[in-house]
């Protein structure tokens, strides 16, 4: 265990890849700002964020294609920072796949092994094995431009896996595929990663992709890591308004902490819209509620439907509770949706909202 890591994460012993206070400056912009991350052995970590948030730069720094302006990148406790990309043994699947257009499927996958001067017998065996896993065995001799997008991606994945990398990196793995193909490819990538038991970092701007594929998600914006946690943690208990909004629809309602009439603490969103508060809640707060946690039909609040939006299995309502706008989503189960003007009883359960510090007020 490396000293620096020990200080950072006392008690952890399975850290495989770590970024320690990494910064990256391009001419005038700071692409990555004091980023520290750790990835455990065999884990799938997703770096999620909007375009320009620094996630691809981070990936390229791990691969060795960009050098950090400061900070260190460690693998198994060893400092990778001074090592050039070709000696890192980190597999990278490029967003546009970057297949070698002049080589066929087999030679693309064999490229890294040939660069390592392996014997042809070894190369044959390993390429066949990997191609088999990504279900491309029968395409060996095809030129890569004769493949579909999904097949090209699997070649790129096989090529990165063939070198038996320490860490596998995927840059926006599904963004170049047809939406109809994405879900299928997501499953396949997951299966292959699980089979190879390789520590994986992938970046995406698509929150569904992140939540579905990753063991843990790191959300970045403007070069800063906002939160790291399991998909459930970051979705249900965001620590930051940006994270709350980025991972799906969110109600973020400004509230003040007050002493309620019954003597207990309360968060007042509007005079007739108060939620129970904890003693640790800030004076000036943002109440975070996912729309699916706004329960309609029963409960102690009353609201009026302002807008109804039908989305197939789900209906989204915009409601007003004592002047405060709240969005709710529910399955309609074939029932007729509520209409604008309808008055409804509304419930928000204590474990289904979450209080954030309101930095703006």
């Amino acid at each position: 265990m490396d000293g620096v890591l020990g200080q950072l994460y006392p008690g952890r012993t399975v850290t495989h890849l770590a970024l320690v206070h990494v910064n990256k400056n391009f001419d005038t912009t700071q692409a990555v700002n004091d980023l520290s991350l750790e990835v455990e052995q065999g884990e799938i970590l997703c770096i999620l964020g909007p375009s320009g948030c620094g996630k691809t730069t981070t990936l390229r720094m791990i691969a060795g294609l960009e050098a950090p302006s400061s900070g260190r990148i460690l693998a198994n406790g060893k400092d990778l920072t001074p090592i050039p990309a070709r000696d890192r043994n980190i597999g990278l699947v490029f967003q546009n796949y970057a297949l070698f257009p002049h080589l066929n499927v087999f030679e693309n996958v064999a490229f890294g092994l040939r660069a390592r001067r392996q014997t042809s017998a070894d190369i044959l065996k390993r390429v066949r094995r990997v191609l088999d896993r990504v279900r491309l065995a029968q395409y060996e001799t095809r030129p890569v431009h004769a493949l579909s997008g999904g097949q090209q991606q699997r070649v790129a994945l096989a090529r990165a896996l063939a070198i038996e990398p320490e860490v596998l990196l995927l840059d926006e793995p599904l963004s170049n595929l047809d939406p109809s193909l994405r879900e299928e490819m997501r499953e396949q990538i997951r299966t292959v990663i699980d089979e190879f038991k390789v520590t994986t970092v992938f970046v995406t701007h698509d929150q569904q992709e992140a939540l579905a594929l990753a063991n843990r998600v790191a959300i970045m914006s403007e070069g800063v890591c906002r939160q790291v946690g399991t998909p459930d943690e970051v979705y249900s208990r965001p620590t930051d308004p940006f994270v709350a909004r980025f991972l799906g629809r969110a109600n973020l309602l400004p509230a003040r902490r007050i002493r309620a009439r019954n003597g207990s603490d309360a968060l007042e969103i509007a005079p007739d819209f108060q939620l129970p508060a904890a003693a640790t809640d800030p004076e000036s707060a943002l109440v975070f509620i996912r729309p699916e946690n706004v329960l309609l039909g029963a409960g102690g609040y009353s609201g009026r439907v302002i807008r109804t939006q039908f989305e197939g299995p789900i209906v989204q309502y915009t409601l007003q509770i004592d002047g405060a706008e709240v969005v709710a989503r529910e399955f309609h189960h074939g029932r007729k949706p509520h209409e604008p003007g309808d008055e409804l009883h509304i419930d928000i359960r204590q474990d289904q909202f979450h209080v954030l510090q309101d930095d703006e007020n």
Binding site: G64, I83, R86, D87, L92, A98, A115, H145, R159
Partner: protein, 552 residues
């Protein structure tokens, strides 16, 4: 981590790039400029004053301008409508005709002049005499001569610029814009005037500037026809031993060409319309009415005949015994002896051998230097890059006469009279051509494949050998073949720099022409055309097979 220390030889790359540019491009041109203001070793503008006060010099300048402007107008009048016809209409033989439209490219400048001016339309040309015979005239017609002859020859070969540029422009044009104009109530004329032509303006201006530059630089046509123009005047001054005047004329011509280059660059940078949407392909209108089809067929055949007549004529002439064909419509006897002589008599095949080795050596150097230069320069920004770019473009922008005189004069103490100078000038002249071809190949390459190679554990040399070269070489070879063609068929540089020992084919054609050995001159010309056709075909094949591997 490193296997073993290897000496860092990377400095060799910029060194070899810049030594060629400084010695081959910058030094000769500086020498020319300096030499023009130091005629006797002291600073003096006297030669410039003399240039601008000598009627013959001014006549040369005026002729150059008049011929170039006329060439632009004529080429545009032929090339632009032709491109529209091919783009808009569908008719039998469209693709064949389209290929034949570029036929003038196959003729090296000197051969074009030979065929058009001497064999076909000149005072005793076959067409002139045919028209005389058919119409019962007193003397042959048109007896092309003087400036009209030069403009005719220019327009025949340079309309291709307008044809190709306009065709490419129309291809890029989004037809939806025209449909939009029409849906807004614009008439066809108004659509053309207000929507199509403005979008084509950049390509038309580009074609006009390139045509103008080529015409200003053109040497063969005015030289053979005997019209005083700047590019030929330089050579004549030099021949007469008036080197200071040759240098001044060189500077004047170079300035005119560079002014055009600056304008071309400015237009390239400032007024390119790119369509905003995905674009809709133009539907081609089939010609339906039988009468129109007949008309189109007849016109098409006439155009093909006109375009291929020079080639056919050169082939026919190559089978005619020298001096045997005088006033008959068709040659009285055919013989293959012109060809036998080319390959059996050392006197005759030496020029072929000379042209081959000099073009091959120059082109090989172009390829190697071009690969090194693009590899190193593509990742540079700043002064190095801009300086190199500026020098690289010069040998293309400057007329061949200028490049040749500048190098001949500046290397006169060291290399004049040696057989090495001519291939060196070929090399410098073709630096831009090959560099741009390789640069285009590089820019088609996805930069992330290089990074992919690196992440897979490949070192720099391995990446070059296994990734970069295979991807860049097709384009590089295609560009090199063009350079080979240019050097192999060159006349303008050769006539300035050649010595008896390395006299190339074009010089031999000229001397056969002067001895009225038309058959021998034609046999050489056929050889040139053949080699050019083969090289172009080969280049096209390399390029298209290469292209298919570039799109993953």
């Amino acid at each position: 981590m490193r296997r073993f220390p290897i000496p860092n030889l990377q400095f060799l790359l910029p060194f070899s790039i810049f030594s060629v540019l400084l010695v081959g491009v910058l030094y000769p041109n500086l020498f020319t400029v300096v030499g023009s203001v130091f005629p006797e070793g002291t600073f003096s503008l006297e030669t410039y004053v003399r240039f601008f006060s000598t009627p013959s010099s001014l006549e040369a300048l005026r002729n150059s301008l008049v011929i170039s402007i006329s060439t632009v107008v004529c080429s545009a009048l032929i090339g632009v409508p032709l491109a529209f016809v091919f783009h808009r209409y569908d008719f039998t033989g469209r693709r064949v005709l389209r290929a034949i439209a570029s036929a003038p490219v196959l003729l090296p400048p000197l051969v074009g002049v030979l065929a058009i001016y001497v064999f076909l339309y000149g005072e005793s040309g076959t067409v002139s005499r045919l028209i005389q015979y058919l119409l019962g005239l007193d003397e042959p017609w048109p007896q092309l001569n003087g400036m009209p002859a030069v403009v005719f020859i220019h327009a025949y070969s340079m309309y291709v610029y307008f044809f190709l540029f306009t065709g490419a422009g129309l291809q890029r044009l989004d037809y939806a814009v025209e449909e939009a104009a029409q849906s807004l109530g614009a008439s066809r004329i108004m659509t053309l005037r207000r929507a199509v032509l403005p979008m084509l303006a950049p390509v038309l201006i580009g074609a006009a500037l390139i045509t103008f530059m080529s015409s200003m630089a053109s040497f063969s046509a005015p030289y053979i026809v005997g019209i005083r123009v700047l590019s030929a005047e330089i050579y004549i001054s030099k021949l007469n031993g008036n080197v200071p005047m040759a240098l001044v004329e060189t500077v004047v011509l170079a300035c005119a060409s560079l002014a055009m280059l600056v304008m071309l660059r400015w237009y390239e940078g400032h007024s390119r319309y790119s369509s905003i949407g995905k674009g809709v392909a133009t539907p081609r209108v089939p010609i339906a009415s039988p009468l129109a089809r007949l008309g189109a067929g007849v016109t098409g055949t006439a155009v093909v005949l006109f375009l291929l007549l020079p080639h056919l004529m050169v082939i026919v002439m190559s089978f005619v015994r020298d001096g045997s064909w005088t006033t008959e419509l068709l040659p009285p006897v055919y013989t293959a002896e012109n060809y036998f002589r080319l390959f059996s008599d050392a006197q005759f095949y030496e020029p072929i051998v000379n042209s081959l080795w000099m073009a091959a050596a120059a082109t090989a150097a172009n390829l190697v230097w071009g690969l090194i230069a693009t590899f190193w320069l593509r990742k540079r920004r700043g002064f190095n890059r801009r300086f190199a770019d500026a020098l690289i473009i010069l040998p293309w922008a400057l007329p061949g006469t200028v490049v040749a005189i500048a190098m001949l004069e500046s290397f006169s103490t060291l290399l004049a009279g040696t057989i090495a100078l001519l291939p060196m000038v070929y090399f410098v002249r073709n630096v831009p051509l090959v560099y741009r071809a390789i640069d285009a190949s590089f820019s088609q390459m996805d930069p992330s494949v290089e990074e992919a190679s690196e992440t897979l554990g490949a070192g720099t040399l391995y990446t070059i050998r296994r990734v970069i070269l295979p991807l860049v070489l097709p384009g590089a070879l295609a560009g090199s073949l063009l350079a080979f063609i240019a050097a192999f068929g060159d006349f303008v540089i050769s006539i300035v720099v050649f010595t008896y020992l390395n006299r190339p084919i074009s010089i031999e054609i000229l001397s056969q022409l002067r001895a009225f050995n038309y058959g021998t001159a034609a046999a050489y010309s056929v050889l040139l055309i053949l080699v050019i056709a083969i090289a172009l075909g080969l280049g096209e094949r390399i390029r298209t097979t290469g292209d298919s591997t570039l799109v993953p």
